[in-house]
Every structure is written in structure tokens, then in C-alpha cells.
């Protein structure tokens, strides 16, 4: 198969676009398309400082690479979740992030070590707070810490590496359960307000996961290939499988599912009307917006975790 633009050997064929490209033209295409989406969805302007949430995975590192190549002022935020479970997941992912940052002296890497700052790793906190798989605890902590760091360090935009497969899987999940509240908010841009003070954007939300992986590979980005040990039977993986089964027979299915949803919501505002705003308060402990009376869920969680740990220490015989 030959590149559509120069007839050199193609490295990727994107069946949903009927587009095959060589290495050079594919890399350029990913960067141009990202720039286009940033403008199209009004994600951020040239002079804004962008904080990229980097996990060490292919998507977030590809995103950071693209933004820096495009000349944006993009810094990274790595949150050390303290996940090991015999796989050294956090350690390995942090090493990938540091290696990338070392190659980009023009960018700053911020790191938050959850256990050092809050007193317990995510799996430890989850044992106390959510009992069971740590994903809810993890999600809550990541959202909170991203908001906090962006606010504290003066970034107006927080960018995450969500790709189309992530977004389509989330959309499928929210549709199967008719989670109206989530369907109303899901999109390439989440304006500041209910979820914090920064704008949240997903510049890669129209790329297939295959494309972000190909980009990382072709750019020589070292990313963590193995999953978080807790992701193994994540429902989102099942949804991705289902969508990819459709995609295999009918190229473009998952892209249409997502884009037509965005279009339908825009064209029919009554389809998912904005509800009268929830009443938000500032959390007395951390200051972030919350619908709770009193402390936000994040602060309550750590309060409980710390009290539990203190009790444990007190009752452990010397």
C-alpha cells in the first residue's frame, strides 16, 4: 500500500478515512489534525499555558509531544499513584515520563507523589474508602489533584490524552445506563465551573487508539506498554472490544457514534437540556468547588484514610 501524498510505502491505513500514509506524512497529519481540532473546538489559544496530564502511556505522551512540536506552551503533570502489585506499574510509567521530559528541556514536569503528600497510596486509600478496586478512588484523586495543580501553578487549561476509543467507550457506557448527567457533559471541552476552575480539553479525541499508538511508536516515544494491574477487567475494555468488532466490519462506526452524538446534542439542545445549576460551595478544607455541605469528597476520603491509619497504629501491639 502506498502513501496517498507521496507514494512512498505506507505505514498505516486508516480505513475510516480511506487514507494510507507514509511515516513522514502520517506524523505531519497527526500534528495538523490536532491543531485543527484545537481551533475547531476552541480548546485554547497560542498564548495560553497548558498543563498536560501525563500517565506514561502512549496517548498522553503523544499529546505532549504533539503540543510541543506545534509550539504550544505545554508542561506536564505526573501523578504518582503508588500502584505496584508486583508489576512496578507506577515506577515504570514514571520512568517513561521522566525520559520524555529529559528530552524536552523547554517544558516543565510537575510531579505529585500521592503517598508522600496525602499519607497513603491509591490502593491503600481505596482499601479504606471504596473497598475493592481502586478505580473510583483513583479517578477522584486524579481529578482533584489535576485541578489543584493547574490552579496553583496558574494554568488555565488542562489537557488529557483521551482518544476516540476512550470517548466512544465512555459514551457507550453512559448510553447503556442513560446517565443523562454524564451525557450532557461529555465532549472535547469541559468549561470551567462545576468541575474546577480550569478548562478541560481532549485534543486527541478524534484519533483512534491505533493512531496514537502508531504515532508514539514512529516518534520513538518510550511509553508504558503494560496496563495498570487494576485495568484488567475494566468494563471500558469490554466496550472497546464491542466497538472494535463493529469497526472491523464497518469502518468508521465508532467515529460516527461519537461525532453524531456531539452533533445531535448541538443541533437539538432540548435533547439534553442544561439543568438549573447545582449549588456549589467551596470546600472549607481545600477550597475546591463541591456540591457537598462541608468538605468535598476528596477531603473526606483522606480524612477517613488518615484516621483509619492512625487507629491501626494505635492498636498494633508494639
Amino acid at each position: 500500500m502506498k502513501c496517498r501524498k507521496c507514494s512512498a510505502r505506507a505505514v498505516i491505513n486508516m480505513r475510516q478515512h480511506k487514507l494510507a500514509l507514509c511515516k513522514t506524512h502520517f506524523i505531519a497529519w497527526m500534528q495538523e489534525q490536532t491543531e485543527r481540532f484545537i481551533h475547531h473546538y476552541r480548546m485554547f489559544a497560542r498564548d495560553e499555558r497548558v498543563l498536560v496530564a501525563v500517565s506514561g502511556g502512549k496517548d498522553s505522551l503523544a499529546l505532549w509531544d504533539i503540543l510541543l512540536t506545534l509550539g504550544y506552551r505545554a508542561d506536564g503533570l505526573y501523578i504518582d499513584l503508588g500502584i505496584d502489585e508486583g508489576t512496578a506499574y507506577s515506577e515504570t510509567s514514571y520512568a517513561c515520563v521522566r525520559a520524555f521530559a529529559a528530552r524536552h528541556p523547554e517544558a516543565v514536569l510537575h510531579t505529585v507523589d500521592v503517598a508522600a503528600v496525602y499519607g497513603a497510596s491509591i490502593p491503600e486509600a481505596a482499601q479504606v474508602f471504596h473497598q475493592g478496586k481502586p478505580c473510583s478512588t483513583c479517578g477522584l484523586a486524579k481529578r482533584h489533584i489535576m485541578n489543584r495543580v493547574a490552579g496553583d501553578k496558574g494554568y488555565s487549561v488542562l489537557a488529557t490524552g483521551h482518544n476516540l476509543d476512550d470517548e466512544a467507550a465512555t459514551l457507550l457506557g453512559n448510553t447503556l445506563s442513560w446517565s443523562v448527567e454524564y451525557l450532557r457533559r461529555q465532549g472535547p471541552v469541559l468549561p470551567p465551573g462545576e468541575a474546577g476552575l480550569v478548562r478541560k480539553v481532549k485534543p486527541l479525541c478524534r484519533f483512534y487508539e491505533r493512531e496514537t499508538a502508531a504515532y508514539a511508536l514512529l516518534r520513538g516515544i518510550d511509553y508504558i506498554y503494560d496496563e495498570c494491574p487494576f485495568a484488567a477487567d475494566a468494563t471500558s475494555l469490554r466496550y472497546k472490544e464491542l466497538l472494535n468488532a463493529l469497526e472491523q466490519d464497518s469502518p468508521g462506526s465508532k467515529l460516527r457514534f461519537y461525532l453524531n452524538f456531539l452533533r445531535a446534542r448541538e443541533q437539538h439542545p432540548d435533547f439534553l437540556p442544561d439543568e438549573a445549576g447545582l449549588t456549589l460551595h467551596a470546600c472549607p478544607t481545600c477550597g475546591q468547588a463541591t456540591t457537598n455541605d462541608g468538605d468535598c469528597t476528596f477531603c473526606r476520603m483522606w480524612d477517613r484514610v488518615r484516621r483509619f491509619k492512625a487507629q491501626e497504629v494505635a492498636t498494633t501491639p508494639a
Binding site: M1, A10, V11, I12, N13, A20, K23, G57, K58, D59, C135, D165, Y208, E209, R210, T212, A213, A214, L217, L218, Y225, E227, C228, F230, A231, A232, A234, S236, L237, K240, E241, N244, A245, E247, Q248
Partner: protein
């Protein structure tokens, strides 16, 4: 699977190894291994390939999983 001979190609995917007849397209080989071509990238000797490529005898292909969860 059968012992390897020169008329076959080897596909590596995570911790699995598949042996397929040479001459078939990479896409057909992937489907034959019960994998979905949408979910892998095809790498031969460090080069990324499109899935219409014909597998040569003795090819060693790495299938890179692209789907992540969480």
C-alpha cells in the same frame, strides 16, 4: 502449534506466539489468530506495516496491542 518450517511466519502478541502459513496477508493472519486487526499494529524488524502486506516465509512479526483500559 505445529513445529516451525520455512513456509511459515511467526506472530508475537503479548505473551502468545502464533504460526501461520506464509503468503497470506497480515490482516488475514491476524483474523486467523482470533485477533481484531483494529486493535493491533504490525511491526516487522522495527518497521510499521500496513495489513495488506504479504507475510514472507520466516517473517517474525510483532503485533503491538493498542487498546488500553482504565
Amino acid at each position: 502449534m505445529a513445529a516451525s518450517d520455512s513456509a511459515t511466519a511467526i506472530l508475537h502478541f503479548r505473551h502468545q506466539t502464533f504460526e501461520v502459513p506464509a503468503g497470506m496477508s497480515a490482516r488475514d493472519a491476524i483474523v486467523r489468530c482470533h485477533l481484531n486487526p483494529e486493535t493491533v499494529l504490525i511491526v516487522r524488524e522495527g518497521e510499521l506495516l500496513t495489513d495488506d502486506v504479504q507475510l514472507q516465509p520466516g517473517d517474525r512479526i510483532r503485533l503491538v496491542a493498542v487498546i488500553s483500559g482504565g
